[in-house]
């Protein structure tokens, strides 16, 4: 089946896949070719795809959703990167900074748009760190 992962900015990857696992908002799930039509939200985490040659490819995603059809799996992620592009120490630093930003905002009782963005950034950083440690 055709696997595709796109972000608002560009298409990250598109290739033939044999098996896909993704972190759904209600729990991780796996998709084999011929799956029933299905749409799920994503939580931050790793998408692991086994391609046609049996090689595993790992992508890091934050918010978004997956659209599953019998012949295709399309991941629409707000932000996605391949595992090779993530460095462990940079991810750790980014995560620490994002946690600090959120606690700072919470301590100052600031809500609204700023907090929403900070929370988003924390999710992203967490996903990167998670993937980097895999």
């Amino acid at each position: 089946m055709r696997f595709e992962i796109v972000t608002p900015e560009k298409r990250i990857a598109a290739f033939e896949a044999a098996f896909v696992t993704a972190p759904g908002s209600e729990g991780d799930f796996g998709v084999l070719p011929g799956h029933a039509p299905f749409l799920s939200l994503l939580r931050p985490g790793a998408i692991v795809v086994t391609d046609a040659d049996g090689k595993e490819r790992i992508f890091c995603v934050s918010a978004g959703f997956v659209d599953v059809n019998p012949a295709s799996v399309t991941v629409l992620a707000e932000d996605a990167t391949t595992k090779e592009n993530i460095k462990l120490d940079a991810a750790q630093a980014r995560y620490d900074a994002s946690v600090k930003a959120v606690t700072d905002l919470e301590r100052r009782k600031e809500g609204g748009a700023k907090l929403a963005l900070a929370l988003k950034e924390r999710d992203r950083a967490w996903a990167q760190l998670f993937v980097a440690k895999m």
């Binding site: 595709e4 796109v6 972000t7 608002p8 900015e9 560009k10 298409r11 759904g24 908002s25 209600e26 029933a36 039509p37 299905f38 749409l39 799920s40 939200l41 918010a63 978004g64 959703f65 659209d67 399309t74 629409l76 707000e78 932000d79 609204g112 748009a113 700023k114 929403a116 963005l117 988003k120």
Partner: protein
């Protein structure tokens, strides 16, 4: 009659102007190609997102649907997001858009609605400031230089917050769509509440949703606002580069014509002087 020296000076200054406009045109052409590429790249995401949302919105219960879909009635305050460029020298692109915005504002005010303006890009602000400066609630400047999704996300977060806090009941975006190098179409698009497309609302296969439809809608609607703002930014940027390219092309051509006519009068005057000197010499020789 300007002297020969003056003419020479003018010719060389127009020549250097032509050199500059020519370079600017080439830079704009290169940037436009890149801008159009990013427009193309952004399309698959925006299209899939729209498709899924249309399907979900058609199924959603009108009463318990998220506020971003349902909207608030009556609509009292309308927020306009106007996308312009940060730099000038790009023809009438910003002016055309501002005119459309002004017409829209006048119409809304006639209907007794309150208007809020948010400008993106320096020129959008400059165009609207003189007449509707008091309505501008927020401006984002210097955003067109490096367009990334993060910028769109920031604007979207502010917009969603303003809507949820009840500062506005409807959000409309105004931007230039790239049609061709010569043509940029000022476009209007309702961002909030989400506009359902009746034609596309045909629900296809029985799709299973996880979690349920409404939870997904509640999550995706804010995301969609970011995506639409991002798309508008990209389109607006491509339009800007296209408009600048054709404006600079015109400027280069005009400079060329000017150089031709200046050179002509320069040569004519030079010839006239030579003739005059000859006559002086000949008549001097004759009198001897």
């Amino acid at each position: 009659m300007p002297s020969l020296k003056d003419l020479r000076k003018r010719i060389s200054s127009v020549k250097s102007t032509r050199q500059i406009t020519k370079t600017m045109k080439m830079v704009a052409a290169a940037k436009m190609r890149r801008a159009r590429e990013s427009c193309e790249k952004a399309r698959p995401y925006a299209d899939s997102m729209n498709e899924v949302l249309q399907q979900l919105a058609a199924k959603a219960n009108t009463e318990s649907a998220p506020l971003l879909l349902r909207g608030r009635t009556p609509v009292k305050t309308v927020r306009l997001l106007v996308f312009g460029s940060d730099r000038g020298l790009c023809g009438g692109m910003n002016t055309h858009l501002a005119k459309k915005a002004m017409r829209r504002i006048a119409k809304l005010q006639k209907e007794g609605k309150t208007v809020q303006i948010v400008t993106l890009g320096r020129k959008a602000r400059d165009e609207l400031r003189t007449k509707y400066g008091h309505l501008i609630v927020e401006t984002y400047n210097d955003i067109t230089r490096y367009i990334n999704y993060e910028t769109a996300e920031n604007v979207a977060a502010d917009t969603v917050q303003a809507f949820l806090d009840g500062h506005c009941d409807q959000v409309v975006i105004l931007f230039n769509t790239f049609v061709s190098v010569l043509k940029q179409e000022p476009t209007e698009f309702q961002l909030v509440p989400f506009k359902q497309d009746e034609a596309k609302a045909t629900t296809s296969a029985a799709v299973e949703y996880e979690p349920d439809e409404e939870a997904i809608l509640a999550k995706l609607l804010p995301l969609n606002i970011g995506v639409q703002i991002f798309r508008a930014l990209l389109e607006s940027n491509a339009s800007e580069q296209g408009a600048r390219m054709s404006a600079m092309e015109n400027a280069t051509r005009n400079a060329g014509e000017m150089i031709d006519s200046l050179t002509l009068s320069y040569n004519r005057q030079r010839q006239a002087m030579i003739t005059k000197e000859l006559i002086e010499i000949i008549s001097g020789a004759e009198s001897v």
